[in-house]
Amino acid sequence: MRHVVVDDWSRGASPLHRRDPRAKLICLLVLLVAVNVQARFAPALLALGGAMVAAGLLVAGLPVWPFLARTAVALPFAAVLAATVALAGDPARAGLVLVRSWLSASAILLLASTTPLPQVLRALRAFRVPVLLVELIQFIHRYLFVLAEQVWRMRSAAAARGGQASYRAAAGAVSTLFARSYDRAERIHQAMLARGYSGELPVASEAPAREADYLLVAAVVSAFAAVAFWMRSCNR
């Protein structure tokens, strides 16, 4: 699956990978808000946001072209809206829409590529996101792999028997797929319960935030604040 690559990237060991996921999540939110706020000096904030994402990309040591290719996935959709806006007579706004959505997607991808999903979910729990939601995200994310594996097995079995693709066959296959996935999930769940699963996956050790994490958040927040104040005073 395509996103398995992002999973691999997220297991790196660069200084950015080693930052506390809570700090990285706060930085992401600050960046997204700064980039998506409407102001006359929006281009300056956008430029700063872009510079931050580029810096993060370099520090994390991620491959540049594959990263950019993934951020471009949402571009066609944004291009359609930008075209609608431009045709309605506001090309500046159309450009802003394109740049904003591309930059936001890059920032989110940067977080996903430097933080394994279980760590992101731990950060969400630290921010009081409901347990049920976090556990479901964890389960669904893993079941996607289970599902993909089942589909691959059924397809190779069908191909080995000379199967024909048809709607009826597909409908039957989907039902069987559901039944098998559910059985397997049920067995895994029972196994977890037998091993003492109490509704939340326990964490081995919550590493406390280090100075570098606080520095990262402070740097991001003060950079945006500084640019915002400077641009406002310049415009007076």
Binding site: V33, N36, A78, A88, L98, A112, L117, L136, Y143, L147
Partner: protein
Amino acid sequence: MHIPDGFLSPPVWAALDAVSLPAVAVIARRAKQSADEGRLPLLGVLGAFVFAAQMINFPVAPGASAHLLGGALLACTAGPGAGVIVMTAVLAIQALVFQDGGILALGANVFNLAIAGVLMGYLPYRLLAGGRFRAAGIFLGGAASVLAGGFLALGQLVLSGVAIGETVARLSVAFFVANALAEGLITLAVVRALERMNPSFVQAPPEALRAPVRRLGGAAAVLAGAGFLIASAAPDSLETIAEHAGIAAREIVLLPAPLAGYELAGVPVDWVAKAVAGLAGLVLVWGASAMAGRLLARRSR
């Protein structure tokens, strides 16, 4: 694709975040209390299936494709409360891992698909499940969830200042309707298949509403959605008197309302603007009355 960051204006996405996140938190807490542990695998598999279904695009018009949403399916199998949480989980995974939908816009996507989509998918099922029209209830649930999600998204874009021309508006409506029909049919087929496999997969509907309640609900929906066709366009008595007495100019608007004048502003297709406003108002009033009723019932115990 879901709404990415950069499409909506800050008041719109901030307001939707402020509404959706607490709503999801409350629903999650109640779902956790009422659901037993054994349901988690079913919810997880349903979520994975809805995720996979959303990746399948089917053509609805030359040059345009739509994808399934799965809100009604979740409502029928996991129930409305758990369905909201499962859909929120799917949207969160799509935003975080697949960059499909923004993080700031997550509140908007959750509101459109997880809250409105799942609940509008549940409503026809709840109303019609006990009687002969169960299949129609499931089909209408699928259609209603797509229409609700689509029009809400369109409205949010319009509120954010994106000028939707008339052609684009008509095209969007056509796509939504095509998508809604497909979703209704597929939801019905999948729910039937699941029932045959194991009847406990599908949520047993609570006792059917009495016929008068159902008829009243149906009549209300028709009136709200299509009543403007027979309504007079002349101003009502209060407005007429205000005009004649010369005090109409004293009107002050304290807060701009999204559905001012019972119309969705900015949508050039007139009947869409009125129908959406009417139905949105109906759903809001119904929701508020239901919640007030629950609170009062709890107090009186």
